[in-house]
Amino acid sequence: MRKITTMIAVLAAAALVVLATPSAAQESARIHLIHGIPDTPVDVVAGGEVVFADFQFGDTQDLSALAGQTLTGLTVNAAGTDTVAIDAGDTALPASGNYTIIAHLDPEGTPTLAVFENDTSSTAAGEGRLTVRHTAAAPAVDVLANGEPAFTNLSNPNEAAADLPAGTISASVVPTGAADPVVIGPADLTVADGSSLIVYAVGSLEADSLTVLTETIDGLGTAPSAVNTGNSPVGDEAGLPVGLLALAGVALLAAAVPARRLAAARVR
């Protein structure tokens, strides 16, 4: 009887673990979908049904609650129509981790989806992270920060990233190897301590619709390693007792050490 009870308890515990696992996985996933195709409202369709309609350029949807699910027959359609802009097929969303999916133009201007895993590693105290993702219908580019090349020869659909001292930088995008024409910017971007700023170059050079979209991931910061606020004893009235105590301690130690040595010598 006791055995059976134990078994039931064990099974119940196991069942709880099994039940708890999927939700735990969902909580740890962060999946955002960004619309990065200018002038193209869309519907997102899966399993023959609309998941969300009239999704506008520049907007973001949080898909985190769908983590671990497979979206069957995922398509991105021109809003209100059955015209398929992107046919992604059966698409399994990751069960955990931090990802951004962006609907964007490939280098030739064809709509497509790209999946980026976001770096959520800690940033050093006083630093933030800047990531630039080339998702525009445009050739390779250089990204200038305060006029100096920060990332060079970045091509669609790649990314470049750096941890930088927190502050504001003036960023602009130029064709690789050229100082001009500036195709995006200059724009002031704030890199905040403990925060990852992800910048997407989107749109089309040909259609003169190049611009940027951004997302931010917070909470990556690290506190300073120490707070050292003194290199000498305090003085005056409060210092005196402390100093006296220290002196007394030294005196006691001085007295104790020879006595111990003596004791040890005697034993020998």
Binding site: H32, A53, Q61, D62, G230, N231
Partner: protein, 226 residues
């Protein structure tokens, strides 16, 4: 660690790609799908929700998806606060409008601390008057000169703290707790931003180690809006 991560990332990307063609090498993401519309059918839009629509239904998944608004860069979100802390008073321990300087991080990762007669506000953390921990640190004593926070270990719960700003405004706080931490075990959350508004006043205390010219502990006083 890095290797395990990249393996996991690769696996996930493969999953995401579904029946993908060969994954491209390098740091780019997989491209999913092609743009060519296989066919076009005409459908009449039905603006009024129909209990049994003949066209596309709204997926059950729809309820799980949360719109997050615009991804357009909004400089206003990153604007500096309109006022900067300039002075600190803790009358109970003789601190009267001590000058406050914004400080950052030393190359070795420690918090930057201004001269003995000033208080440093950790500018990468919260500002006083905003949610989060506004960290204000000052020396207890430096090169034989007593620091602004010489007697911080003597403040008590209930003592007044006042912060002055460059626009002439001020905010009042009340000490809630004074704690001495071993420097090796200084809690990381002293600097936490995701907490309600509070001041975290820090100095050194405990035993002074003459050979290291350093104190063994940090004295921390917490204060909340009065």
């Amino acid at each position: 660690m890095a290797r395990r991560r990249s393996v996991r990332a690769a696996a996930v990307l493969l999953l995401l790609a579904g029946v993908a063609c060969g994954a491209p090498a390098g740091d780019g993401p997989d491209q999913v799908g092609t743009g060519a519309p296989p066919s076009t059918t005409t459908s009449i839009a039905e603006p009024v929700p129909d209990p049994e629509p003949e066209g596309r239904k709204t997926s059950e998944l729809a309820e799980l998806v949360q719109p997050l608004g615009s991804a357009r860069y909004d400089p206003a979100e990153h604007e500096e606060p309109s006022r900067t802390v300039t002075g600190l008073s803790v009358p109970a321990v003789g601190v009267q409008d001590a000058p406050v300087e914004p400080v950052g991080v030393e190359p070795n990762g420690e918090m930057e601390i201004p001269p003995a007669d000033e208080v440093g506000w950790y500018r990468f953390g919260a500002a006083p008057g905003e949610p989060g921990s506004a960290v204000l640190a000052a020396h207890v004593a430096y090169d034989g000169v007593d620091g602004v926070f010489r007697d911080l270990d003597r403040v008590s719960a209930g003592d007044d703290v006042t912060v002055a700003f460059d626009d002439g405004s001020s905010e009042r706080y009340r000490v809630t707790e004074v704690v001495t931490f071993d420097k090796e075990a200084l809690p990381e959350d002293l600097f936490a931003r995701d907490v309600p508004e509070r001041l975290v006043l820090i100095t050194c205390g405990g035993e002074f180690n003459p050979s290291l010219r350093s104190y063994e502990s940090n004295v921390v006083a917490y204060a909340v809006p009065a």
